[in-house]
Structure formats: C-alpha cells, structure tokens
Symmetry: D2
Subunit: 279 residues, 4 copies
C-alpha cells in the first residue's frame, strides 16, 4: 500500500467529483483527504486528493482520469517523494539556516542539493553542514554571464525548485522563464506594500505599526508573482530600521518555511496571478 | 435554484464520496463547496456539501442518500434559513451587545427571539434594540424552579440554539440534557487552563503572559464540553486583574461570535468530546 | 487626591528626567506610571507621566515645568476627564455600533455628542441608543457647502475629536486644517498597501493572503496621516471580495477602537508623520 | 563612551526616580531608555535604565545609588557583555539548532560554552557547528550521580545561564537551588494547561483549538516557575498528535528564543512567582 497525491485542475462542470472519485474507487484507491475549490469568476475547478492503495499502473490511472475530465484538464499523480532543490543566497543567513537545519534533520520535505551564493559569506556555514557551496559572483560580468554560471550549476542537478533565500539580485526574464513555476522568493514586506528595495527603511519612514513578509513564486514582474504565504508582526516607535530588520528576519524565515512546506507537500496550485493553497 | 447544505456523518468505508456525489449528480445538484474529514482512530467519516439546484423532494433525496450509505449514517439537509435563538445573560453587556447589533443589521445568521437575564441590568439596552427581555431571578428559589421558569420562556419559541453570553449560573444536568447539543457557552479562559470561577484572577496570580477565551457546547461536565473556537491575547506585568478582564472581554466576544457564525452556517460537527469545524 | 496625566515633548538634552521629576516631587506628586522616548534622529524627547496628588494650582505646576525645560517645550496637564466626540458615518454600521455600545456602557473613555451621516441609513439605530443623528447630504451641493453644514453642527459642541467611522467622503484641506490633530480615520487596508478606494477589491485581485486596517490621524494628504494602530487578518483563496469585506469589518472595528482607547487615555503623541504610542 | 544597563528593584516610595536620575546626571550619564514599574499590591519598584557615558568607577556609582535608595534596594550595573551559557538537551533538535545558529552568527547575545545531552542523538550536529558536546546518560545511575556529572561539566565554565532546550529529565531541588534564577526551561504547553508529560497528547484528547508553549525560570515546583514568554498557535480537527507536535515545535523555538533574547538583554526581573519584562 502506497500513498499517492493527485492534483487536478480543469474547467468547472457538473459531476466532476463523481467522475473523479468513481475512477479512484474502480482502482481500489481509498481517499484519505480531499480538498476542492471552484474559482467561480474563472469557472475553474481544482482538487487535491490524497489516497492510498496499490499503484502499479499510474500511467493507466492518469489516462482513465483524463478520459473522464473536460478536454484541457491537467492531472498530476505524485508518489510520495522528496523534492530536490537548490538555494540561492547573498549574505543573510537566517532563511538559509532554517532550510539547512530542517534538511539535516529530514524535516524539510526536500533535499538541498547545493547552495549558490553571490558572495562568500555563507560558504563556511553551508559546508559545515555538509552541503556543497558554489560562489558565483555578479561582479565584473554582465547579468547573462552571471546567470549562465548559475544555470550551469543548477542544471547539474535534477531539481524541482529553486529557493531564493534572501538572494538580492533581480533575475532576468529569460532565467525566470527557463524555470517557470519553480522559483520561490521571500520578499521582506507584506506585498504590495513597499515593493522594491529597502522595505524596512520605507516602513520606518512611513511610521507603520506592522511589518511583514511575503513568499511568492517569481514571475518576470518583480514582486508581482503569485503570493503563497504572508505574515505580519507588530512594531512600534521604539523600532528603528535596525530593530525592524531584526524582527523582520524572524518573520521572513517563518513565512518562507511555511510556503516551502506547503509546496513540498503538493498543496499549492497557481492560477493566473494567484495561488490556491489547500492547507 | 436554491442552495442546500448537506451534512453527513457515518462510519468510514471505501467509496463514500463517490456514492454521495453520484446521488447528487442524479438529482442535478451542482456542488459549490465540499469538505470532508476522516477521523481515523474512530473510523468515522464527516462531510459538508453546499450545493445548488431545485429541491422539490428533499425527503426523497435524503432517503436516496441513506440508501447509499452505511447503516447508521446521519444525514441532514438544511435549506438556507436563519436559526432562532434565545440568549441568556447575567450583568455583562459585551457579548450580548455584539449579538444584538449583528441581529439588528441582519448579519448574525440567526434571529434573537428573546433575552433572559437573572438580573435587570441588561433590560434597558435589550429593549432599546427592540428585543423582549425576561427577568428570571435565581434568588429565593431552588435551581429547578429557576430553570423551569427559563424553560417556560424558551419553549414559547421554536429555538435552534441557546447562547450563554456570560450567563454566570451553572445549569443542571437535566436542563443541559433537555437542550442537548443546542447550548453554546463562552468561557473566559483558554480551557483547560483556569477551569471554574474567576479565571482572570487566577491568571493574574499565576503571572501568565497570555489570556484566552473558549466557546464550547455545554455538556453536563462544567467547562468540559466540545470546544468550538479559542483565541488568546497577550498580557504583561502592567495588567492587573481589572486590565485582564477588560482585554479579556474583547477576546470573549470575538471567540463567541466566531463560534456562532460557524454554527449558524452549519460548519460544526460534534464527535464525542470534540468538534470538527469546516471553516 | 486626584490623578493627573502630564504629556511633555521638547528637544532632547541631558537631565530632562531629573528636572521633571524634581518638580513633581517638590509638588508632592507621586508618579504611578512613566514612559519616555527619545527620537534620536530628530533629537526629540517625549514623556507621559501619570501621577497622583493634590492639584490646586495646575497653572503654577505647568509654569514650573516649563521653567525647567528647554525653550520650545510643550507641556499638557490633563486631569482625568472624558473626551467629547462627534462621529461621522456613511452607511456601514460596524464601527459606529462599537463606538455607541461602549459609549452607552461608559467604557469608551469619551462621550458621543452626535453622529453626522451623509445618508439616512444609520439614523434609526443611532436614535434607538439615544444619540442625536444629523443628516448632511453631500448630494446637490458643492463640497464647501457640505462641509460648512457639518462644521455648523460640530461647532455646537465643545469637541475634542472627530471620528470618521467609515465616512466615505474625502475632506477638504480647509476642513482638515480647522480640526488639525483632532480627526481620526479608519482606513480599510494595511497602509501603505491599497491606498484609495476599493482596497478589498484590489486585495482580491492581487491575491494577497492577509488583509488589514489602519487607524490614522487625518492630514491633508489622503491616507498619508500619522498611523496610530494597524492589524491584519488572514484570508485565503476561498475569500471573494464579499468575504474579505466581512472579515475586514471585524478587523476595522478592532483597529479603530484600539486607536480611540489609546487616544482617549492620552497615550498618543504625534511627531511629524509618525506617532509615538505609550501602550 | 560606553553603554551601561542599570537594574534597580526596591520598596516603592515617593521620589525614587528623581533620586536615581539625579545621581546619573551627576555622573554625566545620558539616559537613552528608561522603563519603570510599580507593583502596587507588593509596594515594589522596578526600573531598567540604559545610559551612555564614561564608567571608570562603577563601584562608586553603585554605592552612590544605594545611598539614595531605600535600605534593601538591589542595584545591578551591567556593562554590555555577552552572557555565557550551557544548553541541556535530550533528543529533539529544534530549540538547540535555533540557539546554535544564532550563536554561530553572533546574534544570540550569549556564547554557548557547551551542550550536555542525556543521549547521543545531537552530538554530531553540535560538533559540526564547533561546540563541545558532553554525553551524560541518566541511565544506570541515580539522579544525584547524574546531576553531579552535569554539575562538574557546567562548573568548568563561568556560566550565567543554563538553558533547558527540550531537556526531558526533571531536575532535583538541590540542583535547581544551586543555580537559582539561572535555569530557563521551555515547556511544550501554554501553562498552566497541560502541566507535566505529554501535553500534545492531552491537547489532542481534549480537542483544543489552540496549542502553546511557555518559557519559564525553573524553580523546585515543576512547571510552576515564573513565566517569561508564552505564545499559542491554532490547530483544528485535522491535527493528530503528530501534527500538533510538529506545529508545536515551531512555537516552542519561537517562545524560547524570545525569552532568551529578553534575558540576555537584561530586560527581565523576577518578582515572587512572576516576571516583569521590559520589552
């Protein structure tokens, strides 16, 4: 008996749940958790089904499901396995450390294959935990050369996701397209407030009473990709920029790790510029 | 086209979702939201289905569903209608006011038929908002006489729920049994901490850094009924008992109203001493 | 023995606390709570001191304090008394109701003298609770006539603050200047996100996972005044605009009432475009 | 110019702040932050003052302060320096990892001198990060021998605090007394709910909707010491014991690290069975 997660998205119509569950029952699969959502304005249907059973012929199961669904349905059958990821960093350790610790103790739901940094600051720590560190400097070269170096490293591994753990360079449209739907970023503000650089300084200058962070998929519009998770934390007049940065880091790592957990458990659909998250 | 909410609980077995959704499809009902939960240790299945369609023969639909479900299944078909409630109070206004305001502006999801108080303090306010107020004193009589007076009033109305909005008398086992599953209480602590009287004083003396509140169904074990919602709020050394009470009241009304909203929208199942809440 | 709250702001220099507390001790005043803050970048000092004693000559006490402080110090001595307020509304009841309920049960820290609405929707409810309601329509007249009508009503009362409880008209620079530092607004987003109209629709379209609200003093830049309090609440893909509005309202009333409580207890300083809030 | 933190506690009386600040001014010390609290029921005064200046003769400054304070005043002058700590663990990594990561990147406010574990599970990880790990098994010996072994290790270092980072053995009264006021524990429930072992199982069985964690000083009454910080997190019917434990761990590390930060910044007073925390 194995566990299988089935993700389906398709145009909405009457009878979808019956059609899907009838196929599963015919294959002797027992549903242990099922979530569905109908995006009414866009007439789109999404479901995530966790089931257990014997899966000798997933290809046949997928075909059978597609037969019973509208024409342009998308069906993913995901046997329980860990994702493979590469992490991109600059100088800040807090998000990387959270990822590497969970990786080390097998509670990340993914394997970190490598860390790529555009500085050397995080090499020692990464290597202490036994993970390969690649330094790819952005200095003295144009962006396409910089990104090509990173791609050469990334493509050595059969990765599922690239995690930007406070990676402070803007990626080109070409890079983003090459890994479409696979790049996750943590932005240090509650988007859409404080888009762009130095959000904590802007927050300080505006005198806000909350600061936040946003984990999102990267698309070619900076800070405009589908949002996965967001949290905020309270600040007051005692917080200068430095204190906001410190409090913000705790929030950033929480938001990013929550997003990664959801993604690695196959709980996140992207639909247009939004996400559907089956918690 | 009408909306119908279907609540089903039964022993878990393979194929339940298929069986249920096939019946619905055969009746031309379109599912707009569906949630299910399997309580693995107790092998129990729960589902809440919101659907739209034409319901001329709900009796037949119910029979058809029961035919396709295990023997002791429980099926409720709930056409969208407001619940009828009676509110019991003592002297504190904050929960009552929140209920009466939402009642007045048709955003409670229920109609308040009457307020019963064991003091006169809240009469004027209740009557200003046009709701009948009945004073039933607990003084100078035994509990059974006190409760009989309340029952006579309550039973004038065809009520769905009795809401204890800071009603500070303990109800007898007999009373609770008569309205089994229909009485909702707000307890002024995060149960199971500070069971019983004066929780804020106990919280102050213990020096806790959070206080809380709990909305629960009333069973014959005081403060032991199935919990529906809980929230906490932060306090510090500046909070004396009075300040804790004040902060606590804001929390209490939030917790109670959230529970009522969930119940009135048919989102809460009781299973043993726990609740399943499909938010 | 009475209670007195002393608010002082002045340029920062060494010895301020000693100078101030020496004056208070000389007047036999016992400090029961004291908070201070130094705005380093602007070299400004702020303190709030609650003390008890006998205050026969507050004029002399104020002069003595000013003598011992830098030249352009600002000193307020506030004997414990309730503020007088007028509330401006449009059609939404939730913030107004929260204010009127607390007003009725003497837990607002202020007296509501009147409610002014640019529609008639909230008249009945306001009058049920015994508060005068004035209808001033914005239709069929220019903004200056509209505001003049409101001013004539407001100026009948000796008010401390004007509370915009979901008042959906933009006030002119002239109006704002006339009541400078006295107008408090609740904005239905976590500013600076979603400035302007329809924030919940914008939030829905952006696919955010949190929505928020902001209470702020009104200055002549729309949605740019000093922020007093902010909170956020979580939403997900199940929230359409309607559900966001509903969840948002609970947040809005919480944020506004928290701000009012802080202001009415003399805990808020305005410094440039920011607030210092001694909770 | 150096920074000095002054902690004073003494019986409350009129003029304390004047007396204290006059001494500081006479020594040319500039107050940059000051917090005070009067515990009215116990007539006790507490203050934390951060100041900058030149401190050649802290002994004289302390004597001068004591001269100007009631008889049994307690005065601590703390020049900015990192605390020295030892961490006790059993098998769970999450709190230890958070401490060691912050230690490594110099953001803990303390130096971890050693980790002592009653199992070997966390040796490799600790040593990877360059920190000495001592295995002291509790098996095959009585408690006093077990504790004596730990004391021998602890006493090699001049430690300020012992942090129990999910150390699952109960310490004897003798051990606790020897390090009175220096032992900090993280308890995996929102005390006083679920005192003792297996709080997540008890929480699951009770059907609560929130779980929590509590950081507290250890006294000889198990789980009864002064509480420093507490937070809660929401759970629902989908959470079995395993899921509660997982969510709880995130909360535990947050609560413990927040407490440690406050302690290491000299922001926590213990008064009887409570704490005063100047955030």
């Amino acid at each position: 008996m194995n566990e299988l997660t089935i993700l389906i998205s398709c145009p909405d119509q009457v009878g979808l749940v019956t059609n899907i569950t009838r196929v599963l029952a015919a294959h002797q699969l027992n549903i242990i958790a099922m979530r569905e959502f109908v995006d009414e304005p866009n007439k789109a249907f999404f479901t995530r089904i966790a089931c257990i059973g014997i899966f000798e012929e997933t290809k046949k199961l997928k075909d059978k499901l597609l037969e019973n669904l509208p024409n342009n349905a998308k069906v993913d059958l995901i046997a329980k396995k860990e994702k493979q990821i590469v992490v991109l960093v600059t100088k800040e350790y807090h998000c990387l450390a959270e990822i590497l610790i969970k990786n080390q103790f097998k509670s990340l739901g993914a394997n970190v294959k490598a860390v790529i940094g555009n500085y050397e600051e995080l090499r020692d720590f990464t290597e202490q935990l036994g993970i390969p560190y690649f330094h790819v400097s952005h200095a003295d070269k144009d962006k396409s050369a910089f990104e090509q170096e990173m791609k050469t490293i990334i493509n050595q591994f059969d990765i599922d996701y690239i995690v930007l753990a406070k990676f402070m360079r803007i990626l080109s449209t070409g890079f983003v397209k090459e890994y479409a739907g696979k790049i996750i970023n943590i932005h240090h503000s509650f988007l859409p407030a404080f888009i762009g650089a130095n959000p904590y300084r802007k927050a300080f200058e505006r005198g806000v009473k909350i600061i936040g962070a946003t984990a999102h998929f990267v698309t070619d519009n900076l800070d405009e990709g589908p949002i996965i998770t967001q949290h905020t934390t309270h600040v007051d007049h005692n917080f200068g920029v430095k204190e906001m940065v410190r409090a913000g880091k705790e929030n950033e790592k929480k938001v990013l790790l929550e997003a990664l957990e959801l993604i690695f458990e196959n709980r996140v659909f992207v639909s247009g510029n939004k996400t559907i998250v089956f918690k």
